[in-house]
């Protein structure tokens, strides 16, 4: 055991000495590994983040036994009502869905059809702006906004502001010379919803001021207007249906989340809803789509990494072969003074593994730095990915990066090491 440790220790000594003495050559010989490992770290982090992002935005509000039903022209994950126009789900469709055997609870996103202005006072100035108002049931945000359940009808209307709306609002504020406000500043901010029961500009329209307060913010709701409890909208519509010139019905369905009593029935129910001319997406379907998207990402990344891998292996192999011929004198002499072939191979491969590990480490940190850079800049380049949070190290990538790099380097060095151990030794030493 002691002899074995001495043997390993001495091999390590030789390897380290070679690396230190030929640091420039060593660095150049395995340069490709840095790019490969950096790309691998970036790719894995990106993949993990995309998965988490999709899971967070879609699955976060959806259970395995739930189906998202949307109007035919929109998608489950798409922003509803871009430009203020909403594709609607007709109320009779909702009734027919309710009648389908096996359908349990239906949570809906409804849109108030009455024009509504948001009125708020900021920095001594009054801001009034028409804005779509959506209603969601208390159960809808049950996973992320538990306090939503605490809403008591009759108090100030609690308003949830989708992140997208906050951005729009801030842009508007900036255009009017007002400072932009973040979530902290707007939390609990009082406002009034001025609801007009008739169409805009109609002479008989009535206005109702409803006190409201910012209750929270959400990145999960794909909506372009303020969100209030659906109870408020339905009760308001019922109460003011008789107003002169009142819009009827006072609300429409923008999206439904249908709970299926038994998961086994989900495909059949899904098909039934589709037959009503509506768009249907279940978690299973989203998962399938997500997996398809990830497969495309994986495929293209694997092709890129494969090319990197091939070029790296060829480069390392070539470099090590050159190193072997440059050091043929040393190897020959080692053989003469009693170093076995196996030890020459092991020492050389070990040396390559050490260099590889060093490069893996460098590549890992370059990858992490690239993640940091992308994390900061990606939302500016691709605004849709604003919610994407790149993880700097998803699941202990360091050992993987170092280990893979060491393995790659040592495998590439193996054949040159065999060449080194098989040189025409006695003849070489005579030169």
């Amino acid at each position: 055991m002691k002899a074995f440790l001495i043997y390993i220790g001495r091999n390590l000594y030789f390897s380290l000495r070679e690396v230190v003495r030929n640091i420039l050559r060593s660095l150049l010989s395995s340069f490709g590994i840095i790019f490969l490992i950096a790309f691998l770290v970036l790719y894995l982090s990106l993949r993990q983040s995309i998965k988490e992002y999709i899971g967070g935005t879609l699955f976060g509000t959806l259970d395995i036994n739930e189906i998202v039903v949307s109007p035919p022209a929109s998608g489950a994950g798409a922003l509803v009502s871009i430009g203020g126009r909403t594709e609607k789900i007709a109320p009779d469709r909702v009734r027919r869905i309710r009648a389908i055997n096996g359908v349990g609870e239906i949570n809906s996103i409804i849109r108030m059809e009455y024009p509504a202005k948001v009125k708020l006072e900021m920095f001594g100035r009054s801001v009034r702006e028409y804005m779509p108002v959506y209603g969601i049931s208390p159960a809808f945000l049950r996973k992320s906004e538990k306090r939503w359940r605490q809403f008591v009808p009759g108090d100030e209307i609690p308003v949830i502001v989708p992140k997208f709306v906050l951005d729009v609002f801030n842009n508007l504020a900036a255009a009017r010379g007002l400072p932009q406000l973040g979530e902290k500043a707007l939390w609990g901010f009082p406002m009034e919803l001025v609801i007009e029961t008739a169409a805009r500009g109609a002479p008989e329209r009535k206005k109702y001021d409803q006190p409201a307060r910012v209750f929270g913010f959400s990145a999960e709701l794909p909506l372009t207007g303020l969100v209030v409890p659906s109870d408020f909208i339905t009760k308001f519509a019922a109460a003011h249906a008789g107003d002169p010139g009142a819009i009827r019905p006072g609300f429409s369905y923008a999206q439904l989340v249908v709970t299926v009593k038994d998961v086994k029935d989900l495909p059949v129910i899904s098909k039934n809803i589709q037959s009503l001319g509506l768009k249907v997406e279940s978690q299973q379907e989203i998962a399938a789509k997500t997996n398809k998207a990830l497969a495309v990402i994986d495929g293209s990344s694997l092709v890129i990494m494969g090319i990197f891998l091939f070029l790296t292996v060829i480069a390392i192999f070539n470099s090590y072969l050159t190193i072997v011929y440059n050091r043929s004198y040393t190897f020959s002499l080692q053989r003469v003074i009693g170093v076995s072939k196996v030890r020459i191979i092991l020492t050389f491969v070990f040396e390559a593994a050490l260099i590889g590990a060093l490069f893996g480490l460098i590549g890992y940190y370059i990858g992490v730095m690239a993640i940091g850079y992308l994390k900061h800049n990606m939302p500016h380049w691709v605004p849709v990915l604003k919610g994407l949070t790149l993880s700097r190290d998803s699941g202990g990538l360091l050992p993987l990066a170092v280990g893979l790099s060491a393995l790659l380097s040592s495998v590439s060095a193996f054949i040159p090491a065999v060449f080194a151990s098989n040189m025409n030794l006695f003849r070489a030493v005579q030169k």
Binding site: A3, F4, I6, Y7, R10, Y13, R21, Y329, T330, L333, Q334, R335, V336, I337, G338, V339, S340, K341, V342, R343, L425, F426, V429, Q430
Partner: protein
């Protein structure tokens, strides 16, 4: 043929025995049925023209080259039957090499060059003491931390000899050890070999063209036309004639 050992007991077996060794490069026969023995505490000179096969013979004795046929017997075992690991260990522990062009590693100091064979041997102990002893023994104190490029030929060869004997081998194989040295340095190296033979009981096999080296040897073989022939020293030849 039998090599003469100094102070060898009658029943003591030979240290190294080369039996019927043949070697060729392509169609050219280099060694043909070569046999001789090497006794402890002896200097064996092997002469022959350039390309006669002297270096090949040293390569075969050390187990670095495989002959076409024959045996190299060390302590009763044919080393040619051993695997690479055992032959490497044999070279490391039992054999020291000295070359015409010294073959020191240029990026190592004299001290590191001497140290080198010892560091790869797991059984090496008290290395520093060993090196210190050798440095004193060979008078290398002043050049210990110099690189080979800054040393004279004689100094380099003394460092090479120190490297060859660091593991206290039984046999030294020297390929033209004085071939690249001036007369004084060559004499120093030959004196050193004699000292190693007399004080340490080492057997030294020297491939050489140098007549002084031949004169210092206890046994002289010549390779001619791939055959090994023992050459008797002139005084012995005279003695044997008188005896008749």
């Amino acid at each position: 043929m039998r090599g003469a050992g100094r102070g060898k007991a009658v029943d003591e077996p030979a240290l190294l025995s080369i039996e019927g060794v043949s070697a060729s490069f392509g169609k050219r026969r280099i060694l043909d049925d070569v046999s001789f023995t090497v006794e402890p505490s002896s200097i064996v000179a092997v002469t022959g023209r350039s390309g006669a096969g002297k270096t090949t013979l040293l390569g075969i004795i050390s187990g670095l080259m495989k002959p076409d046929g024959g045996r190299v017997v060390y302590k009763g075992q044919n080393i040619l039957k051993w695997g690479d690991f055992k032959r490497s260990r044999f070279r490391n522990r039992e054999i020291g090499f000295v070359f015409q062009f010294f073959n020191l590693l240029p990026d190592m100091t004299s001290y590191q060059n001497i140290f080198y064979p010892a560091i790869i041997s797991p059984r090496s102990r008290n290395l520093k003491e060993k090196v210190d002893y050798l440095v004193g023994y060979l008078g290398l104190e002043k050049i210990l931390h110099q690189y080979p490029a800054t040393l004279s030929g004689g100094e380099r060869q003394r460092v090479a000899v120190a490297r060859a004997i660091i593991n206290n081998p039984r046999i030294i194989l020297a390929d033209e050890p004085t071939g690249n040295l001036d007369e004084r340095s060559a004499n120093d190296i030959l004196s050193l070999f004699k000292k190693l033979r007399d004080e340490n009981g080492m057997a030294i096999v020297i491939a050489t063209h140098d007549s002084r080296t031949v004169a210092s040897a206890d046994v002289h073989f010549n390779i001619d036309d791939a055959r090994l022939q023992r050459i008797e020293p002139p005084e012995r030849r005279k003695k044997s004639r008188r005896g008749r």
